[in-house]
């Protein structure tokens, strides 16, 4: 698969498979197309050539199932400043067809925002807003997490926690696809995929390509 932006080919053709339990870290210099790749995979962008398969079906065919089973966290957290943390998450879980007020509070407690449930998000710091977005990881049990720079604005302790959540998710059989420039210290094995415009081939084969 290859990706282009404004008629520039971003990275060399890529062929990879992500299996359950895998943590895949996309690496590469700024502007190489990590975010573009994640947006293509998530289904936001159609500017790619090649084919993407989800459980053996093309992504176009499996769109609905894929949407149910993935969670995408982009550069913009998707947190409304005018709403409180709880309202933000309630709305987000409603988008996924669930109404779960207890779970929202539990998820907020998980990400260390207990006590901030009702404060409007414009009063929260950038890192806290990021945590509101991360609380989604605990709201919907989906197999594939797509995280674009999840560590932005998160403090040291938070980074350690997030790394733990990622490991836990992989141990439960989930897959994580993330970009970050931070070295990861995970208990699970991390597959690193280096995107580069110059390099010729890049392969990250992981067991059988189920996902």
């Amino acid at each position: 698969m290859a990706c282009e932006r404004d008629d520039v080919l971003l990275f060399e053709p890529l062929d990879m498979a992500v299996a359950g339990g895998a943590i895949v870290q996309l690496e590469g210099p700024n502007g190489v197309g990590k975010t573009s790749l994640l947006r293509c995979i998530a289904g936001l962008s159609s500017r790619y050539r090649g084919e993407m398969l989800w459980r053996g079906q093309t992504l176009q065919a499996a769109r609905a199932a894929f949407a149910e089973e993935t969670l995408y966290l982009g550069h913009h957290p998707g947190v409304k400043a005018a709403l409180s943390a709880r309202e933000n998450l309630l709305w987000w879980s409603a988008l996924r067809g669930i109404g779960a007020s207890d779970q929202v509070d539990a998820a907020l407690a998980q990400v260390g925002l207990a006590g901030y449930e009702s404060s409007p998000c414009y009063q929260l710091s950038a890192g806290q807003q990021r945590r509101v977005a991360l609380a989604r990881l605990f709201l919907a049990p989906v197999p594939l997490w797509i995280l674009d720079e999840p560590f932005t604005a998160i403090d040291k302790h938070g980074v350690a926690q997030l790394e733990m959540w990622i490991s836990d998710h992989a141990r439960r059989g989930g897959a994580v696809l993330l970009t970050t420039h931070q070295p990861l210290t995970l208990t699970e094995r991390v597959v690193k995929v280096a995107l580069s415009a110059a390099c010729d081939d890049q392969v990250a084969e992981d067991t059988d390509g189920d996902y």
Partner: protein, 230 residues
């Protein structure tokens, strides 16, 4: 754990509730088109003189044109903040149907802009010396008409939200589609003011609404997908 499955309408209701909640918390933003409506309608009698007969002759057209411009003004912001903060991406990636989400956004937008305009219109009708007999028709025509304007405005907003300055483009896209609504809306009020029946024009406005309600969300959904595809 209190987990309940929401149906398609539950998802729509949640989105409408959220948008109305946001609008109520940002009252200044919500008041913008209303203030515009009020100000322009107040300036007209000052500009063309206070003779009741002259004002009454202009009233249906003026009120309708200003309501239309107020709707146009408001429609630019329909998806803007959702686009800027990433909520729009989350909506498009959610398993919920984009068609229903687009419809819900349009309905919420109408509830926070069109409906207040309708509620304010009797006051402006009095200000513009519109005969009292025509006021119910004015409200009814605006009720149907602003709903169409919100739905059509959403198409323009969805298509232009990815552009940095979509303001002018949205007018170009949307204004031609607004014109039939303006013609039949203003003519309904004019007919009522002249003591004729306005049911024909109102029926056409109703038909436009019945057409816009199922069709525009299709265009909005497609427009939003194009807008985030970069």
């Amino acid at each position: 754990m209190a987990t309940t499955e929401l149906g398609a309408f539950g998802v729509m209701a949640a989105l409408i509730r959220r948008d109305v909640q946001i609008a109520l918390r940002r009252r200044a933003e919500m008041a913008n088109p209303l203030l515009f409506f009020l100000m322009v309608c107040t300036l007209f009698p000052l500009g063309i003189g206070p003779e009741p007969a002259r004002l009454a002759a202009l009233a249906p057209g003026v009120i309708w044109v200003v309501a239309l411009l107020a709707c146009l003004l408001a429609s630019d912001g329909l998806f803007r903040s959702d686009y800027d903060d990433g909520s729009l991406e989350q909506m498009l990636l959610s398993p919920a149907s984009t068609y229903l989400l687009a419809l819900a956004k349009s309905i919420a937008h109408w509830l926070t802009t069109g409906l207040p305009l309708v509620l304010m219109s009797p006051l402006l009708a009095v200000l513009m010396q519109l005969p009292a007999a025509a006021i119910p028709t004015l409200c009814l025509s605006l009720l149907l008409g602003t709903a169409v304007l919100s739905l059509v405005g959403a198409v323009g907003a969805g298509l232009t939200v990815g552009l940095r300055r979509g303001g002018l483009l949205i007018s170009l896209i949307v204004l031609p589609l607004y014109i039939p609504v303006l013609i039949f809306g203003a003519s309904a009020v004019q007919a009522a003011a002249d003591d004729f029946s306005s049911s024909g024009q109102l029926a056409i406005l109703g038909a436009l609404l019945a057409l816009a309600l199922p069709l525009t969300p299709l265009a909005v959904a497609a427009g939003l997908r194009i807008s985030v595809d970069n």
